[in-house]
Amino acid sequence: MADVLGSAGFVVQQALHGYGDGHRLLAASASLPPTDARVMLVLSDASGSSAEFPANGYLTGYPLAGSAKFVLARTWPAPEMSRPGCVWTHSLLIDFGDLARMRSATGLIELFRRPEGGSRRRYETPLKVAASPARRLAKVGDVGAATAALGTLYRRPKQKVVAQYSDSSDEILILAVWMQQWPRLRRGFRFCSFAASDRSTSGESFDLQLVDRNILAHRFRLPGTAIASITEFTAALEPLLDDLLSPDCEGLRSFLRDVGGDVASGRAGMLPLTRLFAATRSSTFEQGDISTAFEALDELGPAQATQARAFVVEQALSQVEKLGGPVFQLIMDSVASTGKELSKPLAERFGRALWSYSPARFAEALSEGGVVGNAADSSLRSLSREDLIEGLATFPNAADGVLKRRHDLLADPLFWRLPGLETDTLLEAVAADPGIAAPVLGAMVSSGRGDIADMAVQRLGGARVIEALKTAANIASSNQLVPWLNALAPTDLASALAGGIVRERSLLVAIARTTHPDSVPNDYGDDPWAIAVDGSTESLDIEADDFLGAFLLARGLGHRSRSPGRLLSQSLERVHSALAAGRMPRAGWQLIDMRLPWVWSWFEWDRCARVREAVVDRFIGSNLDPAHFATLASEDSLWHSLVDLAARVGHGRRYLQRVRRTLTEAPDARQRERAEYIKECLH
């Protein structure tokens, strides 16, 4: 890895301080504002009195905020000068921008030069920092010192940290700690590799100072100062130590560089960022890791580490389906706060997960819009009906927003079983869209929501309901149909039957079971029931057809119909057969029985006979169309018995004459045979 980003290196300004009638700036390649010049004058002087400074000097690092530069300086003792305590200091002034891009301090260290002789000219021109220095700095060797330094620096972020000076290799540790930091922290980090007294001023504390053992004991045990100790180290800082000893081995410092830009809490940010790194590096990145990550973000503060927050959210979203509970809420809040739209596939996944997490929150997001709302919206189309209905069961109020995009739910019977629906509003919406009325009504019927039948008929009209019942009749139970049929007006039924709309035998049976034989009006034209039955085919349900036959017979024997003969001819044989076989359902017999004339109880048992007699009496008494009498039964024995009954009375015989005339004129041979039978009967 290149030490410095970019192949061209960069330029630094430089300055030389030393003694010349007082400690002063002797040469510089650039001028500085007075405040920064003052800071440099003070910090370029010796780091204290009465100390054996290292012969190779020591390093001091500090920022010059006014000039947006960081000073890395090396100070040497100057025993050759006349006054004791004089020093030389060569300072490199690094632009903050260049400092941010640096990966290593090697290129800077190589530039330091102790002045020799009287010439100062070499310090009056800027210096070029090599892109690829000739050598690399040695790695940190003293793990104990590194552990103590890292632990104390980052677990006591508000305190000045002092550590015992060992030898010149301490510089390697300090520079490694410095270069490990993200740019914003790095440019504010103050350090000194050999301090004989505290170099902090009232406004600016030094973060790390290495101190001679003897001085450490006396001059640095002050409030606000922490002595570096291994006991401060915590397992959470392990990745940081690993990274220090083997730079960027796991990508930690790259991570710090990427996310530290808006972390303004200084050293206090290192521990949570390291925790965050560890949590997001887990190969599974499970709920626990995400919780840990968010705890770390909370430590940093709500307005900090927006990049880190975005990173965590991105990682979490990759497994959004596995999230739940508080973690999902955290993710959702973060997604909302970033304001950055999710990609379409991710938005759909997130929206589905949101629905699963909380339909209430989903509905809220839909109405509020924003990133979360858009994700909810995009996921609506892909959510299954089952999932939607399951969610609506927990929060029916979400139906309004969901239905705007998912009308198809209305055609699902499960939807109509949801509690708390605003049925009135929904029916209004269905009424406004005739195209969906039929499937919606079918769903309503199948759902068993008989309670809304009246409202539905009122809103949508009986014709639409009947149309829906045509389909529903095949799948709905008769119990489900009853309230709907009851809700229909007799005139609606009449129109539907007469109009040939209802052809399904099952629906006819259902209507018959639900209504009175006389309820459907027949004020004009042929009987609606007769028309409808003619247009339908027998079903496989014998009992149902038997019942229908009884219903029609009962209607035919009544006085509502204008086509009684037709009704009787449609139903007699069926009814007679059912009665003869003893299979007529009780409900059917009840309908017929109420139409039959009274007989002595000992004649009640012969139901067939009673029916035959009633039918014949109806034909003769009402002078029904002889053509219908002629086709009253296909079976000859039954028909003959009817003829025999009719021939017993005089008006019956006269009626039969008319029937005979009708039959004689028929082209069918069989009918002419029946005419002959009547002729024989009358003689």
Binding site: H23, R24, G48, S49, P79, R83, P84
Partner: protein, 290 residues
């Protein structure tokens, strides 16, 4: 600590190498030990950096050179002294690096804390009698060169820097600052101390005439009384001779060994005022206070 009867601040002012720290160390030794008669006696310790004070007095007693005061900050000490009437006088001495005063001349700038310190109290101005940078006359240099047969070198003009100004120019400017904001505090007393007097007395002049001879501009300024200074001139040798250097492997100096032999270190100190001489550094202090 009981409240003093009188509070005074005496600022020891001087350019780098003028002997401020040495004077303070000698004074502290005098007051602590009272080996010789003093105008002001030790009362009690006051506030301040006594670790620093103890460190410099230890070095002084050992006849070792003081390290130059670092630019890192102003250390201040105060001590309660008793005058002849047994009144408690608290005297505060900021030990300021000479570079701060140099900055006032060169950069026209002053540290806020130093400004606050100098804005009240009287002034003790130290001038190293051995390192006075006198102005040079070009004609004098030329005639000297001619007299000894040395050719006059062709010099390359260089940019003038304030540090090249003569000592008296810098000192007059320094004193003039006391008459202007932010330091102005009305008329004050000024003690001008010519330090390293053991070297300067070879001129065979008393302190005030020495001032007139070596620093005429300064003397004229003071005599003109433009800024209301009430002034005196002393000569002082706070060491009594050359002390040993503190750098490693430095050769010991005979003077230092001799001075260490003196029974009472206080007697190394020589204070000269006009024709009188004593060891009592509190005398100018007493004058500054009243």
């Amino acid at each position: 600590m009981a409240q003093p009867d009188i509070e005074h601040s005496v600022s020891i002012v001087g350019l780098p190498g003028s002997g401020k720290t040495t004077l303070l160390a000698a004074l502290w030794h005098l007051v602590q030990t009272e080996e010789v008669p003093l105008r002001l006696h030790f009362g009690a310790l006051g506030d301040g950096d006594f670790a620093h004070l103890n460190a410099i007095v230890k070095r002084w007693r050992s006849a070792k050179e003081q390290e130059r005061t670092k630019a890192s900050g102003i250390k201040s000490v105060s001590m309660n002294l008793l005058d002849a009437a047994e009144r408690t006088v608290r005297v505060t001495f900021p030990d300021v690096p000479g570079e701060e005063y140099q900055r006032m001349w060169e950069d026209r700038n002053i540290d806020e804390r130093l400004a606050e310190t100098l804005s009240f109290g009287n002034v003790l101005l130290l001038i190293n009698g051995d390192t006075i940078k006198a102005p040079a006359w070009v004609t004098e240099r030329a005639s000297q060169a001619k007299a000894i047969g040395k050719p006059i070198a062709k010099t390359v003009p260089k940019v003038w820097h304030p540090s090249q100004a003569p000592t008296q120019v810098q000192l007059v400017d320094l004193l003039q600052h006391f008459g202007r904001p932010p330091l102005a505090a009305g008329p004050r007393r000024l003690v001008v101390m010519i330090s390293a007097w053991d070297k300067a007395e070879g001129e065979q002049l008393r302190p005030e005439p020495f001032l007139g001879a070596k620093l005429p501009l300064l003397k004229q300024y003071l005599q003109s009384n433009r800024d209301g200074w009430d002034w005196r001139v002393y000569g002082v040798s706070a060491q009594g001779g050359e002390y040993d250097q503190i750098k490693r492997n430095a050769q010991p100096r005979p003077d230092a060994a001799r001075l260490r032999e003196i029974d009472l270190p206080s007697k190394r100190i020589r204070l000269v005022f006009d024709t009188t001489e004593s060891h009592d550094l509190t005398e100018p202090l007493e004058w500054l206070m009243y």
